[in-house]
C-alpha cells in the first residue's frame, strides 16, 4: 500500500502545487497576498463541472479533457476583472488595504458563485470514469490521478521555462526581485502586474477544474485549498516557485501518510510544521 500512499501524496502535491504556484506568482510580482485565491479555484471548478455536465457524453472524450481548461480560462478572466477594478487601486496603499480588499472580494465572489450556480453540488465524474484504473505493482490506482500529476508537471515545466527563457517571464522575475529598479528600467509595471495576476488566478482555476471529476463542486469549496495553499507558500517561501514545489510535496505527503498512519492529527500537524518552519526560518525554506 505504500505505493498507493506515495501516489496519493503526489496527487495532492500536484493540486497544491498549481494553487500555490498561482499564489506565489501574484505574491512575488505584486507583493499581494490574494485572500480570494480560493474563490478563483472554486470558479474554475464550477465552470468545468457545469460544462462537463452540459455536454456530457455528446462529444468525443478528448474534448471532455479540453473543457478542464475552461477552469483556467474563466478564473483567469475573473482575475483580470479583479485586477483591473480593485487591485490596481491598491498599489499605492498599504498592506492593510490590500488584504482587506481581497478579503472583501472573497466574500463577494462566494455569493456570486451562489447566485450563478445555486446551492447544490455538481458532480461531473465523466473524465474520471473514462480513464479507468491501472495496475501499479499489484495495486489498483485510478488513472485520472496520474493524469492530474502529469498536467501539474507540465504546468510547472511551462512556468519554469516561461520564467527563465522568455522575455516576459524575465521581466516578471525582475519586478518581483526589485520593483523600483524594474520601473526605473522602463518596464510597464501595470501591464505586467495584470498579466501576473491573470496567470496566477488561472492556475488556481485550473486546479479547481482538475479536481472536479472526483470531488463535487460546492459552496465553500475554496476554503480548504486556500488554507493549504497558504501553508505551502509559507513553508516553501513567499514568492518562490521552487518553494511552491517543495512545499506542495511536503504538505501532500504529510496529508497522505498522516491520514494513513496518524489519522487523528491531520490538520494540526500541518500547521505545527508550518509554525515551526516559520519560527526558525520565517522566510520559508526558499524564501528571500
Amino acid at each position: 500500500m505504500w505505493v498507493v500512499y506515495t501516489l496519493n501524496g503526489l496527487y495532492f502535491a500536484a493540486l497544491l502545487f498549481l494553487i500555490s504556484l498561482g499564489l506565489n506568482i501574484i505574491l512575488g510580482v505584486m507583493g499581494i497576498l490574494n485572500l480570494a485565491h480560493g474563490s478563483l479555484y472554486a470558479i474554475g471548478a464550477f465552470i468545468a463541472a457545469w460544462i462537463i455536465i452540459a455536454i456530457g457524453m455528446k462529444v468525443p472524450p478528448f474534448f471532455l479533457y479540453i473543457t478542464l481548461l475552461s477552469g483556467f480560462v474563466l478564473a483567469g478572466f475573473v482575475g483580470f476583472l479583479m485586477e483591473k477594478s480593485l487591485i490596481r487601486f491598491m498599489y499605492k496603499r498599504t498592506l492593510e488595504y490590500q488584504l482587506l480588499l481581497t478579503f472583501g472580494a472573497l466574500m463577494l465572489l462566494e455569493d456570486v458563485i451562489k447566485m450563478i450556480w445555486g446551492g447544490q453540488a455538481y458532480y461531473a465524474s465523466a473524465p474520471f470514469d473514462l480513464l479507468g484504473k491501472v495496475d501499479i505493482g499489484g495495486n489498483i490506482y485510478p488513472t485520472y490521478f496520474l493524469f492530474v500529476m502529469i498536467i501539474a508537471l507540465m504546468a510547472g515545466l511551462f512556468i519554469w521555462l516561461f520564467m527563465s527563457k522568455t522575455k516576459l517571464g524575465i521581466m516578471l522575475r525582475a519586478i518581483s526581485l526589485d520593483r523600483e529598479m524594474a520601473t526605473g528600467l522602463g518596464l510597464d509595471i501595470n501591464r505586467l502586474s495584470t498579466f501576473a495576476f491573470v496567470l496566477g488566478s488561472g492556475l488556481a482555476g485550473l486546479a479547481g477544474a482538475l479536481v472536479v471529476p472526483t470531488t463535487p463542486a460546492l459552496l465553500g469549496f475554496g476554503h480548504e485549498p486556500l488554507i493549504l495553499g497558504f501553508i505551502v507558500v509559507v513553508v516553501g517561501g513567499l514568492g518562490s516557485l521552487k518553494g511552491a514545489l517543495v512545499g506542495a510535496l511536503l504538505v501532500g505527503f504529510t496529508r497522505s501518510f498522516g491520514i494513513a498512519i496518524f489519522p487523528e492529527i491531520e490538520l494540526p500537524l500541518l500547521f505545527l510544521i508550518a509554525g515551526i518552519i516559520l519560527v526558525v526560518k520565517p522566510q520559508g525554506l526558499f524564501g528571500r
Partner: protein, 323 residues
C-alpha cells in the same frame, strides 16, 4: 486626561446607555450587547493596528482564548463558574497566549508579521477543531449562565439575564476598558507606539526599544480581545472553533476599519455598525456575504478612514467654514 471636555460627552453617553434596556426589545438588546463586546475587542485591536501600525489577521486566537476559557471552566470546573473567577481567568489565558504568539510575531514586520499571526491563529483553530473530546471539536461548547458574586441565576432564562444584571455588568466593564485604553493611548507609552508606527528607524534611534514595545502592544491588545471574547460568550451561549479562524479575525479587522482606525472611538462605532450590518444582512438576504464584501470594498476604496474618520473630516470642514 480627565480635564478634557470630551469626558462630559462620554459621561452623557454612558448615562443614556443605562436606559437602553427600556427602549429595545430583548432581541435588539442582545444585538447591542454583541456590539459592546466587539467594541471592547476593537479598542484592544486598534492599539496594535491604529497606534502601532501592525496588522494582524490572527487576533481571533485571543478572542477564542478568552471564550474557551469560560466554556472550559464551565465544562470542567463548574463549581468555579462565576464571573469574578471567569473574567480574570480569561484575561490570564489570553495574556499567556498573546505573549507566546506575540513573541514569535513581533520579530517581523509587514507581511511576514500578518502571515505569522494568521498561521498561529489557524494552529489554534486546528487544535480546537480536532481535540473533539476536550473542546467539543467543530460542535463547540455550550456556555451556561454564570453566577456573579454569589448571585445565582438559576431559573432565569438567558434573555432575562442579559437584559437585566448582565447588561449593567457589561456596561461597567466596557466603561473601565474605555478609560484604561484611553489612559494607555495618552501615556508616554502610547506616544512611543505611534512613533514606532510612523518611523521605526527614528524611534529606535531616539532610544525606544521597538521590538519590546511592539510585544507590549501585542499583549495588551490580546488581553482586551480576550476580555471581549469572554464577555461575548454569555450573550452567544455557545463557542465554536471558528472563533480562531482567520475569517473571524478578518471581521475584527473589518470592523476596526469600518469605524476608522485613526480615531480612538472609531473601532467602537465600527463594532456597533458591523454587528447590525451583518445581522441585518443575514436576516434579509441569502446573499449577505455579497453585501458585506461589497460594503468592505466600497469602504476601502472610498472611506479609508472609516465612518468615524469621515465624520471627523466633515466636522473639521464645517468648523473651518464657519471661521
Amino acid at each position: 486626561m480627565f480635564k478634557n471636555p470630551r469626558w462630559i460627552l462620554y459621561l452623557l453617553i454612558l448615562i443614556t446607555l443605562l436606559f437602553i434596556p427600556r427602549f429595545l426589545s430583548i432581541h435588539d438588546l442582545m444585538l447591542f450587547e454583541y456590539g459592546i463586546t466587539f467594541a471592547i475587542v476593537g479598542l484592544g485591536f486598534n492599539l496594535l493596528l491604529g497606534y502601532t501600525g501592525l496588522l494582524s489577521f490572527g487576533h481571533g486566537a485571543y478572542f477564542a482564548a478568552g471564550a474557551y476559557t469560560v466554556a472550559m471552566i464551565g465544562k470542567y470546573f463548574p463549581q468555579a463558574y462565576s464571573l469574578e473567577i471567569l473574567i480574570p481567568a480569561a484575561l490570564f489565558f489570553s495574556l499567556v497566549l498573546s505573549i507566546i504568539f506575540g513573541f514569535v510575531c513581533v520579530r517581523h514586520t509587514k507581511i511576514f508579521f500578518s502571515i505569522l499571526a494568521l498561521s498561529l491563529s489557524m494552529l489554534l483553530f486546528a487544535l480546537l477543531f480536532k481535540l473533539y473530546h476536550i473542546t467539543g471539536g467543530s460542535d463547540g461548547l455550550r456556555v451556561p449562565l454564570p453566577t456573579l458574586f454569589g448571585m445565582s441565576f438559576k431559573g432565569i432564562r438567558r434573555p432575562e439575564f442579559l437584559s437585566g444584571t448582565y447588561y449593567y455588568f457589561l456596561l461597567i466593564v466596557f466603561a473601565i476598558s474605555f478609560i484604561v485604553m484611553r489612559g494607555i493611548v495618552s501615556s508616554p507609552f502610547g506616544k512611543a507606539l505611534q512613533a514606532i508606527r510612523d518611523n521605526e528607524v527614528r524611534a529606535e534611534l531616539i532610544g525606544i526599544r521597538v521590538r519590546r514595545y511592539r510585544l507590549y502592544a501585542f499583549c495588551i491588545s490580546g488581553v482586551f480581545v480576550g476580555l471581549g471574547g469572554a464577555l461575548w460568550t454569555f450573550v452567544n451561549g455557545h463557542v465554536t472553533a471558528d472563533l480562531s479562524h482567520w475569517v473571524f479575525s478578518g471581521e475584527i479587522v473589518y470592523m476596526t476599519l469600518l469605524g476608522g482606525f485613526g480615531i480612538f472611538e472609531g473601532p467602537i462605532i465600527g463594532a456597533i455598525i458591523f454587528t447590525y450590518l451583518k445581522l441585518y444582512a443575514m436576516g434579509n438576504t441569502q446573499y449577505w456575504m455579497f453585501v458585506i464584501g461589497a460594503t468592505l470594498i466600497v469602504l476601502v476604496m472610498l472611506l479609508p478612514n472609516g465612518v468615524a474618520g469621515a465624520v471627523s473630516s466633515l466636522w473639521t470642514k464645517i468648523i473651518k467654514k464657519s471661521d
